[in-house]
Symmetry: C2
Subunit: 126 residues, 2 copies
């Protein structure tokens, strides 16, 4: 194979890099996952549901995901305030891709844990 015919990596414009930039933060996947499981959720509901997240990280990550068009934010003008979050269509479309990745992760981990021995499967939704 000649050097010139090699695939050359081009980071800008790669849709995979783009996708990973969207889901790549520490708390983004947990939020997306929780919303895909539970549907519409309020701020403090998310906070209670996601183990270890702080107010600040939740606020920031929700805003990031909203900017990426992955989640919707609906604010009700009430006292006490109420804000509900849910996945957008893009967000929903992401879920199958994540499931495939999760399936792969599961397989790999089983291979590492007991090499050569297949001991059933763990459920994807932990």
């Amino acid at each position: 194979m000649k050097e010139k015919e090699l695939y050359k990596n081009n980071l800008d414009g790669c849709p995979l890099t783009f996708a990973l930039n969207i889901i790549g933060g520490k708390w983004r996947l947990p939020i997306i996952w929780a919303l895909s499981k539970n549907g519409r959720m309020r701020y403090n509901q998310l906070k209670r549901g996601i183990n270890g997240i702080t107010s600040m990280m939740l606020t920031q990550t929700l805003k990031d995901l909203e900017d990426c068009n992955i989640i919707n934010r609906q604010q009700f003008m009430e006292i006490p305030p109420r804000v509900e979050y849910s996945l957008t269509e893009s967000g929903e479309n992401l879920v199958p891709a994540l499931k495939q990745l999760a399936r792969w992760g599961d397989d790999v981990r089983n291979n590492i844990d007991n090499i050569g021995e297949d001991n059933g499967r763990d459920e994807l939704q932990s």
Copy 2:
């Protein structure tokens, strides 16, 4: 829906988190991608093929991926030295999942571009 029935996030043991930890470094995907396109590659071939990577980052990332059982490292006892890298079976299995994610990334990006008509430019696009 009762609070107790909500899905609760458990980061340890989540196969998705596990998968993202494997592919989540800056240079991991470029290396995996290049190997999946070109098959077996030597160190400097990878270095030339991946735009902007330094020796150190390449060495480190290759070692990380080897530890994760994503790539094989085969060393030939020759002068000058020769080392060839290739995807393991786990590495090959990862590729379809990455492709699905990439497809999603592509769709989302196109959607953003189209929405841009009524909203001017946002800084999401590369």
